[in-house]
């Protein structure tokens, strides 16, 4: 959320206790709630006619007509169009999350053809950079991460396949209804039922089914509550809670997590509804499936003995260590009377009280010497003899060589499949899985019944258990569904304007913000369906409007009437998001590596940053340095330790769906952008780039830095100001050494810290 304050009351003081009074988990309240006719979000989108407005310029594009009518109603004057330079920067950050390159700037500014702007949008939409940018919005919405969080913070070896799947889906302009269906039910809609056909190639349809199924990975990468692993029932209940919460926020735009414990206080979603949604997923399970040809799978198992070799070598080392430890303990024992040694040698459970006391003497000495295995005494090196030391070194080398030969990974995807056991779902009293109440069958929230949607009916299905997810996907993607299309067009709108038509994108409920332009929202939703659920068409539509192309200039009268710019009398000025900021720095400095996809890149951390991490083994820094400057969407998302630069700039915590990020402005951001090792490095690279590619005079460097960083030439005043950096005396750094690059580095750092760099007009 950008500014919570004008979206929802920051602190609402209510008459009674805000949270607390238990609500009886009964359906009696539901009828009353359903009777409320007022909830617009459960009515199907209406077919809305484009309004007629006075200003012909605002009539040509349907979106503009909707916007202009509201502007007129509110007594607002639209801002003039943005200039081309501003527009190019806006469009470029919007679709690619990157500033325009000098070449792109020249090309667009010199293109006098009437459709230059449309061509630009098309070019940007056609580039793979687009998917890398827009996937991230969706990844926020589905609380993407590479690990499970909490104490164990388990690693999801195949989460990255889902991330790449999302990027590819956006780049391919996969119809959104298909995108939804794949994530919810690909395995049920497109089962893995196609045979291999006698060649080394996987049949394309089979591969397509497999690719689609990676969509279901979405439901396998939520937070994993460590405690729950002890109890199957709890683990399943926690998993299903995450599934339903994510489903509700991401696809329905409803925050329904509270209905786990009691009926929703504000929306007509009951605890029963919540558990019925759970039941849709209850007969599914998380499963690893190979994503390679059966022949490769055979190859993997054929080479498996090489892994056994590694295990054998490891156990040789362990045996050696155990022998050395035993010898050392024997030496300690030798210093004690026979009686004590005998006590120590008696198995613990057979010792008398007397023996237990005696044995303690040796036990303490052993742990003192760091030899107690149970106490994790591995810190002290064992007292090897020279020959043992050599033997160990040789074994270590053999392990290394065996590891090189062995094949440790059979490429797999982690997806949804059918559970072996048919689990009943009970309404859990107060959301406590230990108190199962009435059993429920799969079903959709009943408030939607009668809104032109069928209730979930599995009677026609022969499969047992029924393919409930398939029905859910069909239900969600029905053109009559009141939420799916509205929710996604609203997200797209928010991506372009910084604020949705519904400003609470994950809450279309009664406590959410009502739409600022309800007719426009419906028009966009129905248009999306008409256009075959194409998201790229939506971008094109929105971006070719005058509304989108307005300047962000301030105007006092408008500001007085609509300070929050709810009715879009101007474009919103927006700060770069964490990833966009990092990517922009990298591309401006000239160090961005555009390689796509694959395992997450684990960026280096400074020593100070590492200090906050519980288990450094869980941060295996990527050793290939060229990988460190890849796009931010590819960086490792570890739930229990998010990349510090990102958290500083409001990266969501990935514990739950995030529909809209905070935009905070705090001093640690300034410190990060001025002093961090990353920024210092990039300023240095940027400085070198200016020196190398942008002439040999301060004037030309200054111009180059403005062009690369800000997409424009500096004004005379700005250039003159920057010249102070090159005025001789400043050639001396504080260390007293002459450094010709220093003024350039300072110049680079200044540009990368400017408000103009961080904010897009």
């Amino acid at each position: 959320m950008r500014t919570i304050c004008f979206l929802v009351p920051f602190v609402t003081v209510m008459a009674g206790p805000v949270v607390g009074a238990a609500i009886a988990p009964a359906d009696d309240s539901t009828a009353a709630k359903q009777a409320q006719p007022g909830w617009w979000a459960v009515q199907p989108p209406r077919q809305v006619a484009v309004p007629e407005v006075e200003d012909a310029a605002w009539q040509a594009h349907p979106i503009d007509a909707f916007i202009a009518r509201r502007q007129t109603q509110q007594g607002l004057q639209p801002a003039p169009p943005a200039d081309r330079q501003t527009l190019l920067r806006r469009v470029s950050f919007d679709l690619h999350g990157l500033p325009p390159s000098p070449t792109q700037i020249e090309r667009f500014l010199n293109d006098a053809s009437p459709d230059a702007y449309e061509k630009l949008i098309q070019r940007l939409l056609d580039s793979p950079r687009y998917g890398e940018r827009w996937s991230r919005y969706w990844l926020d919405v589905v609380r993407y991460a590479d690990t499970g969080g909490f104490e164990t913070d388990i690693y999801f070896p195949n989460a990255w396949r889902y991330r790449d799947y999302v990027i590819k889906s956006f780049n391919d302009d996969k119809p959104f209804d298909r995108f939804v269906t794949e994530q919810i039910a690909a395995d049920q809609v497109w089962p893995d039922d196609i045979e291999l056909r006698g060649t080394f190639d996987i049949p394309p349809e089979k591969k397509e089914h497999l690719d689609a199924r990676v969509g279901t990975t979405l439901f396998t990468i939520g937070p994993v509550y460590h405690e729950a692993a002890l109890n199957g029932h709890q683990l399943r209940y926690e998993w299903l809670s995450d599934v339903v919460n994510t489903l509700g926020e991401a696809f329905l735009g409803l925050t329904i997590s509270c209905a786990r414990c009691h009926d929703h206080k504000f929306d007509p979603i009951t605890q029963r509804d919540y558990h019925r949604l759970m039941a849709i997923f209850a007969n599914s399970c998380i499963r690893d499936v190979p994503v390679v040809h059966k022949m490769s799978e055979f190859g993997y198992y054929s080479a498996y003995p090489l892994r056994l070799r590694v295990e054998q070598l490891k156990s040789s080392i362990q045996r050696l260590d155990a022998a050395v430890r035993d010898r050392a303990i024997d030496e300690i024992k030798a210093g004690f009377p026979a009686e004590v040694v005998a006590a120590f040698d008696t198995p613990r459970s057979e010792r008398t009280a007397q023996q237990a006391r005696l044995a303690k003497q040796i036990e303490e000495a052993v742990s003192e010497a760091g030899l107690n295995e149970n106490a994790g005494g591995g810190k002290t090196e064992l007292p090897y003899q020279e020959q043992e030391r050599q033997q160990r070194r040789s074994l270590l080398q053999q392990v290394g060589e065996a590891v090189l030969k062995a094949n440790f990974d059979l490429p797999r995807a982690t997806v949804l499949g059918r559970a072996e056991v048919h689990y009943p779902v009970h309404i859990a009293e107060r959301g406590d899985w230990r108190q199962p109440g009435e059993q429920v069958a799969p079903g959709f929230p009943s408030v939607f019944n009668g809104a032109g949607l069928a209730a979930l009916d599995v009677s026609g299905q022969t499969s047992q258990p029924p393919l409930a997810r398939k029905l859910l996907a069909e239900w969600l993607t029905s053109p009559a569904h009141p939420l799916t299309a509205r929710v996604i067009v609203n997200r797209v709108w928010q991506g372009h304007f910084g604020r949705g038509i519904v400003a609470t994108p994950n809450n279309f409920g009664l406590q959410g913000e009502p739409p600022s332009h309800p007719e426009l929202l419906d028009w966009l939703a129905t248009t999306l369906v008409e256009k075959g659920w194409s998201i790229k068409e939506m971008h094109h539509l929105i971006m070719t409007s005058r509304t989108y192309r307005m300047s962000s200039a301030f105007e006092p009268t408008n500001a007085q009437r609509d300070p929050a710019n709810r009715f879009l009398w101007r474009m919103n000025r927006r700060r770069l998001q964490a990833e966009t900021l990092r990517d922009a720095v990298l591309v401006v400095a000239g160090s961005l590596n555009l390689e796509m996809g694959g395992q997450p890149v684990v960026p280096p951390l400074t020593k100070e940053e590492q200090l906050g991490m519980w288990n450094l083994d869980q941060w295996p820094e990527t050793l290939d340095e060229r990988q460190h400057t890849r796009r931010s969407v590819y960086l490792y998302v570890k739930r229990s330790f998010l990349y510090p630069m990102f958290t500083t700039f409001d990266f969501p915590d990935s514990s739950a769906s995030c529909g809209r990020r905070n935009v905070s402005t705090v001093a640690p951001q300034a410190l990060m952008l001025l002093n961090s090792e990353f920024m210092q490095q990039q300023a240095q690279v940027f400085g070198e780039r200016l020196q190398k590619d942008y002439g040999d005079s301060p004037e030309s460097w200054i111009e180059g830095s403005w062009l690369l960083g800000l997409g424009r030439a500096p004004t005379e005043q700005e250039a003159a100001l920057a010249m102070a950096l090159f005025s001789g005396s400043d050639d001396l750094s504080t260390t007293g050494q002459s450094d010709t690059l220093l003024p350039l580095k300072k110049l680079a750092l200044i540009v990368l810290n400017m408000n103009e760099f961080i904010y897009v007009d």
Binding site: C5, V11, P17, Y225, N507, A670, E718, E756
Partner: protein, 536 residues
């Protein structure tokens, strides 16, 4: 000071201006402080701006660390635009801080939370169990109930008596073990709550519970809530500071803002290297070089702002750079202990190797409270360089706890003495606790463990200062220290107590998100101890 001349001021700012209003007797209400802070930047950049954008400015110009008691102002403005949420007869109730900014009279204004990472054993420290000594080595009597633990099946492990010696301390006679001989001398200042409980039996859930009132991640920490409610007294330092001696199991979320805006997060002050992440400019760009960068940047940003007008966010960002610059001066001053006397160093145990590190942290905590930092959290037992488990005595508990206690006892006692002699103890609430307590029976993971497993069903937290009348014991665990039985105090009650002492009604400090109002104490907190702790 407006933004126009703020550069001059920024340069003059070092060393930082200490804010001692409260202690110099010129007590300002939080409302006054807030209004003063508001007036300056507000006049410059939003002269004629409407309520909404003033609010927007407040939130964004949080000047870094939630210095604005934003909740108060937000709700006021919220009330202005949302008249339906209040009753017309009580317009002032729209603000949770209507009566002089706090709901109830505050006895504490600052908090130091000493967190024993790993889970200290209550039955070896502050909760003596004579019956446990008698039953040493025997199975757990069935009357105490069965409960399976992470590594331990209750039916299969013997009870384990404490090897520590307890004795009555002070006039109040509170029994404290020989692990805390120095702290025990302050027994009459302590309110020892022996009946705390929650249900998280791993470190992460225990730490989440104690810090955020919820076992999972995603909720704001008690420090964040406090700052959200009360703001800060020193704009040049973060309002909520966390002192770590190494990484903690639950990581940053336990001092994170959760769903509150980022400005409410705890800032980690490190004992090694730069005290705050990135607070030191790189060697190559210090002094004049950095000053030049900051000056030029400010010029460019002002030129940029002039062309755009009335953008609170851009103005806030300029302000955040000024604060960053001032912090670079005020943080080194804060961590510079060279002016502390030898006597003070001795008091905190800085002259002993074992207690030097935690003593330094405690001394730092006192310096921060002096400078108006609202909430300080000090951890003992974080993991360093991949080893050590803090207070997590699964194996060789005696050795573990003796080592850990030796590190913290003198510093804690020193902190209490020092706060008292400086007149700060009355307004500073000191809290001691950890993830959970430990089991009265042996840990079942390894045969030779000689340790105790985690026990969230009964454990001890003590509080001192902040107006508390000490020398009292509240609640009790059963006869072997397994479960809280008398006067059970849930973590929500502890949090409600902390907020209560700070003058905040835990039910009225709320934040709307995810479709509903959230509060630190969720649906609990009704058994809070605020009045009982204050009573003599």
């Amino acid at each position: 000071m407006g933004f126009h001349d703020s550069w001059k001021n920024a340069e003059d700012a070092a060393p930082c201006r200490l804010v001692h209003t409260r202690r110099q007797g010129t007590a300002k209400t939080a409302r006054q402080i807030v209004m003063e802070k508001l007036s300056a930047p507000y006049q410059f950049c939003c002269k004629e701006t409407l309520v909404t954008s003033r609010r927007e400015f407040l939130q964004k110009a949080g000047l870094g660390f939630g210095s604005l008691a934003a909740s108060f102002l937000m709700s006021r403005d919220g009330a202005a635009t949302q008249p339906s949420t209040q009753t017309p007869t009580q317009p002032e109730t729209a603000s949770p801080f209507a009566a002089g900014m706090t709901h109830v009279p505050a006895t504490a204004t600052n908090v130091i939370f000493l967190f024993m990472h790993g889970g200290p054993s209550h039955i070896d420290t502050f909760d003596p169990k004579p019956l446990l000594t008698e039953l040493d080595g025997q199975p757990v009597p069935p009357s105490f109930g069965a409960e399976d633990f992470q590594f331990t099946r209750v039916a299969k492990v013997p009870l384990m008596a404490s090897r520590q010696k307890f004795q009555p301390r002070g006039e109040s006679g509170i029994e404290i073990s020989d692990l805390f001989p120095q702290t025990a001398q302050h027994a009459d200042k302590l309110a020892v709550i022996r009946s705390c409980y929650h249900d998280g039996f791993t470190h992460v859930t225990g730490q989440n519970w104690l810090n955020t009132g919820w076992p999972r991640v995603g909720r704001p920490s008690v420090g964040s809530w406090t700052v959200y409610g009360l703001g800060t007294e020193n704009e040049n330092l973060p309002a909520f500071v966390v002192l770590l001696d190494g990484p903690i199991a639950a990581g940053a979320p336990v001092y994170g803002p959760g769903f509150l805006p980022g400005m409410y997060q705890g800032t980690v002050l490190r004992s090694d290297g730069p005290p705050i992440l990135n607070v030191n400019p790189p060697t190559q760009l210090q002094g004049e070089d950095q000053r030049q960068i900051m000056k030029m940047l400010a010029r460019y940003n002002r030129l940029h702002l002039e062309q755009r007008q009335e953008d609170a966010e851009l103005a806030a960002r300029i302000a955040s750079y000024e604060l960053a610059f001032r912090m670079q001066a005020s943080v080194p001053e804060l961590v510079d202990l060279s002016r502390e006397t030898t006597a003070t160093e001795h008091l905190y145990g800085l002259d002993q190797e074992t207690s030097r590190e935690f003593g330094t942290q405690c001394l730092m905590a006192r310096r921060m409270v002096e400078r108006g930092v609202r909430f300080v959290q000090v951890y003992s037992g974080g993991r360093k360089g991949g080893g050590g488990a803090g207070w997590d005595g699964h194996v060789e508990l005696v050795k573990n706890h003796r080592t850990m206690a030796a590190q913290v006892d003198q510093p804690i006692a020193g902190l209490l003495s020092d706060l008292e002699q400086r007149g700060l103890l009355d307004s500073t609430l000191v809290i001691w606790g950890g993830d959970f307590g430990r089991t009265p029976f042996a840990d079942g993971l390894k045969e030779s463990s000689q340790g105790r497993d985690h026990n969230p069903y009964g454990f001890t937290v003590w509080m001192a200062g902040g107006g508390i009348r000490g020398g009292k014991v509240i609640g009790a665990t059963d006869e072997i220290g397994f479960r809280a039985t008398e006067d059970k105090i849930h973590v929500h009650d502890l949090h409600a107590t902390i907020l209560g002492l700070l003058g905040i009604d835990h039910e009225r400090l709320t934040y709307f998100t995810q479709g509903r109002e959230f509060r630190l104490t969720d649906i609990g907190g009704h058994d809070h101890l605020t009045q009982r702790l204050l009573a003599s």
